[in-house]
Amino acid sequence: MTSTAKLYAAAPTQRRARAKTDTVQLAIACVLIILSGLIPDLAGNDYWTLSFQLVNLFIAVAALQNLLMHDAGQTSFGQGAIFGVSAYCASVVASTYGLPYWQAACCGVLAAVLAGFLYALPSLRVQGYYLGFVTMSAATVFPEMLVAANRYTNGINGITLNFSALHERTALGVSPMTLMVCGIACAVLAAHVLLRRTALGRRLRVAAISPEAAQSLGVSPGLMRCLAFLIVAFGTGIVGTLYTPVVGFISPAAFHIDASILFFLAVIVGGRGHILGTVVGVWVLYLLPNILLAELAQYRLLVYGAVALVVMLLMPDGIVGTFERWRLRRRTSQPLQSVGLERLLEFHRGPGAAGEKPGAVTGNAIDVRAATKRYGSVSALDSVDLTVRNNHIHGLVGANGSGKTTLLNMLSGFSRLDSGSVRVAGQEVRSMPAHRIARLGLGRTFQKPRIFSTMSLWENVEIGIDAAHKHTHPACLLAALRQAMEEGNVELVPHGQRRLVELMRVVLKGSDIILLDEPAAGLSPSEREQFKKLLCRLRDELGKTIVLVEHDLELVWGIADTITVLEAGKMVAHGSAAEIVDNPFVRKLFIEPTHA
């Protein structure tokens, strides 16, 4: 028992109390928002009170755009239209139908979510600047449609609503309006920070950075995109309902495409992905020209464009982004000694192991029959059969173009067969999407380790835990691992360790079948030796089934129970390492690597 106790005890490192960047930025941002909202109100200056209320509304919308753009990876140049849809819908319902404003606001939010859904649809087909242009077209059309529907919207004359009660200063010296707006802006930023810490937030980010990694963890990238648009539209909708109360008047001119472009530029100029970035971006692009050029209003637009241009040329990461990079560079980080995979394996070997050994499972892990895939006139796979038994290490070798990567992609669902059948864990997966196959208990690693530098080292592992459907690892073990890895700087992790982090993620996911795509690439000879031992332990102690696509024949022959050799899409040898070593195709591979 002492050994187990030692396992779970925290490593005795000197832990510097380092607050997370997000939290610090959130605190600074909230302080700025609250101060900028309260001070003009307390001072009794109506012009600046209104201006800062508007600025804080814009910050909220830009913050949501930040979430959409950075965390979810979606390019939208049309968030102003969603803002406007909500504001207009609420105003029209309130003025035409006379409903109390809070009910009208609900209609507004509903309309915004609907608009968000309309944006989500093209995102399933196109990404990047194509999606940006689609949303921009929509946002350009929006004010035109408002004018065209003047029977409901009163066209360019706009709608006036009276909210003067909210603008009266209370005994505290500030108006309820100011408090509400500051509150909303801070709430949006806080929600963003909180979302990042949830499993959903992590899934969004993985889906944005690497759709394949997301799929291999059982997450559907398309669903994540839709969710992102809907969540952001919901938030933007809520913020939008405050527009008319703040200004007292709404007209199509307020939702010109310029507004959408402003939100987009504010995010980038401030520093995409940074919580404080939106505050800085909106202040620099909107507030600064308005303040500095209060007398010279006609130059505002020019200055705004010039500032955006200059900032992008000098600081492509944005203002806050560049500052953060500079700050991180100055901080000295120790490279991680070990990523704790050992600790994880110790747990499974130790008496505390919950017995996660499906060694007695009957049936084969993988059964492929007559798999065929053609690309034009070339047969990538030609009637290939493959049987991978449970609790085995199965090697898959062959020259470039032999079809092994195609086969691996078939197994994990990233490619479809033309004919034949593929059974994983007893289920036919031929037409199953990759993320559903992953949920059957299949995990895979990629040739280039999918380790994301925009997430912390622990988060890179945590997404594996998020993907597990049974919780087989006790909380104290996870806490211990987390503590060991928390200090790690992803950029400094050497390649060999990245490979292990990816493997750790797959193990924590609880995958029974692990597909490894050229895992030894880039490993030094000593790292390869360690890796061989590691794979054997995964098979023996954790009962995993491993399929190994590799070029390093020595490695494969050293640990594989069964080996399949492919050449030109056909299976040319299959059997144990000793059985097939005299096969002529195998001999060719060893002596003279030929092109398939």
């Binding site: 280039k448 690439a521 880039g522 000879p525 070593v581 060893f590």
Partner: protein
């Protein structure tokens, strides 16, 4: 002429080449072999300027070219012919050749070089006015080499010239390279078909897991490899 010392490079965070030393003399043909993933293409791409080396030096006649852009390196006289018979598909054979020669300014030199190319690869002369996409893979490879030839580089790097080609097309290509070397160009070939390539190479080098495992005269290579395979054979 080409001196490489302690070269380390890779993709992103994946280290591929470790402390590679290499040198080629004018008129020499060096054959680089190794299994897939060993780092051969990475080596050529690093020398050619497509990958920035992490450490080490690459000297062309004494001038350090490590870290320069591919265009600049080509203008200095080192030409990389990429793998996969890459030519400009929508441009005619003739114009492909013309584009190859933009790094050199002299017209007469171009005419003479083109004539040589046509002598070795008459099919290119036949299909002069056709777009390159209408050529077969092997013919495109010939065109790619011809395009490099008219630039009259001092050093040629050829990445897997036989990739995807029928065996019968290799001898004329390799003989062309032999002739080319005889005129003073240093040539480095990365190849998988050792047998045929060995016949024109002077020296050979085996790359394994990013490091040079073996360097010897071309005629000794097979013997060395056989010995290695015997040591390696399991059971």
């Amino acid at each position: 002429m080409l001196e490489i010392q302690q070269l380390c490079s890779g993709y992103g965070n994946v280290p591929v080449l470790r402390d590679v030393d290499l040198s080629v003399k004018p008129g020499e043909i060096l054959l680089v072999v190794g299994e897939n993933g060993a780092g051969k293409s990475t080596l050529l791409r690093t020398i050619g300027g497509f990958i920035k080396p992490e450490r080490g030096s690459i000297r062309l006649d004494g001038k350090e070219i490590g870290g320069m852009s591919p265009e600049a390196i080509a203008r200095d006289g080192l030409r990389l012919v990429l793998d996969g018979h890459r030519v400009f598909p929508d441009i005619t054979v003739w114009d492909n050749l013309r584009l190859g020669a933009v790094v050199r300014k002299d017209r007469k030199g171009f005419d003479a070089a083109v004539d040589e190319v046509f002598e070795v690869f008459p099919i290119l002369k036949e299909r002069l006015r056709q777009p390159a996409r209408s050529l077969s893979g092997g013919q495109q490879q010939m065109l790619a080499l011809g395009q490099a030839f008219v630039a009259q580089p001092r050093i040629l790097l050829s990445d897997e010239p036989s990739l995807g080609l029928a065996q019968s097309l290799l001898p004329p290509i390799l003989n062309f390279l032999r002739r080319w070397a005889q005129s003073g160009t240093a040539i480095v070939i990365v190849e998988q078909h050792i047998d045929i390539a060995l016949s024109v190479a002077d020296r050979a080098m085996v790359v394994e897991r990013g490091a040079i495992k073996l360097s010897c005269a071309a005629r000794d290579l097979k013997a060395h490899l056989r010995r290695e395979a015997q040591n390696l054979s399991p059971v």
